[in-house]
Symmetry: C2
Subunit: 180 residues, 2 copies
């Protein structure tokens, strides 16, 4: 199988790290606890007037590079490869690509080694990428084409209402991928 | 049609710019005139002992960002979009991605505008990208899968021996793409 794996919030703890930095940089400011997050986009869970501050946190140099690994992700990817699957990291960079695209590569090198950067596919439109499954936390993934892959939801608080797709974590991935 | 277009040596004059900088930085050093180039990789047309120097030229900060547009490329892309085609820039970053990936985005923004950066697909393996045609100067494009797209050769000195593929320039693209 070609297993496409999203980067932010599937491998790299983007929104967990955002919340930690938000609370540290703006103590006393409004915040949404991680488990209470309802929207894929952090700023949509916050009052509109905080958007600029929010963006300043995750667009800062070093934010992407220093994202912690999501627990179990590294072991799961290594195992998928051992099992003979072709793993690719399929990621959409922020529209403000500065600090983002290069740090996405550097993050993959830091956690998975330099050779693994050859597995990165950066695209705004994931429907243009071929694969058997795409593991992604976004609720709905649309684009120019009808996707070839099956979208498997990576379980995050903001996608819990999605019921019509298989749901995966890095603890249950073996069972969920059976028969994919 | 989904028209995938390679970036280096199809839109951005990578090897022309390399030669100019090479001769400026290392006057008196061996060089290969552009029309005499035989290999897709510049360093393979040069003695092995020059490889490090060669890489230092094209891996330098600003090299990618300052590449000139290949003549006719901008008008052709604009016309392709007007004609209703879906144009995407499909590019493989250098293995040493530092200075390369972010500058590829910045180059596209500089010449085609910020929105156009949404059309970028970065991947080492172009066979994983869906499309009707891929316009690329590389002689053979292989990867994990049998590609969906037809490979149309973008005419460069190092691919002139390729005879079994349609051959395109930004002067004759309308005729060549007819019936693709």
């Amino acid at each position: 199988m070609i297993v496409l794996v999203d980067q932010d919030n599937v491998l790299a703890d983007f929104d967990g790290s955002f919340l930690e930095k938000w609370r540290r940089q703006f103590p006393g400011e409004f915040y949404v606890a991680f488990e209470q997050r309802k929207d894929f986009y952090a700023h949509k869970d916050y009052p509109e007037e905080l958007k600029e501050k929010i963006v300043s946190v995750y667009a800062a140099p070093g934010f992407i590079l220093n994202l912690p690994l999501i627990s179990g992700a590294s072991e799961a990817l290594a195992q998928l490869i051992v099992l003979g699957h072709d793993v690719r990291i399929c990621s959409s960079p922020l529209t403000n690509y500065q600090n983002c695209v290069e740090e996405k590569y550097a993050w993959v090198e830091k956690h998975f080694g330099k050779d693994f950067t050859n597995r990165i596919i950066l695209t705004q439109d994931k429907t243009l990428v071929r694969g058997d499954v795409l593991i992604d936390d976004k609720q709905e993934i649309t684009g120019l084409l009808n996707p070839e892959w099956e979208h498997i939801i990576f379980d995050r608080p903001w996608n819990r209402e999605i019921r019509n797709k298989r749901r995966l974590t890095w603890q249950n991935w073996r069972e969920v991928l059976q028969g994919a």
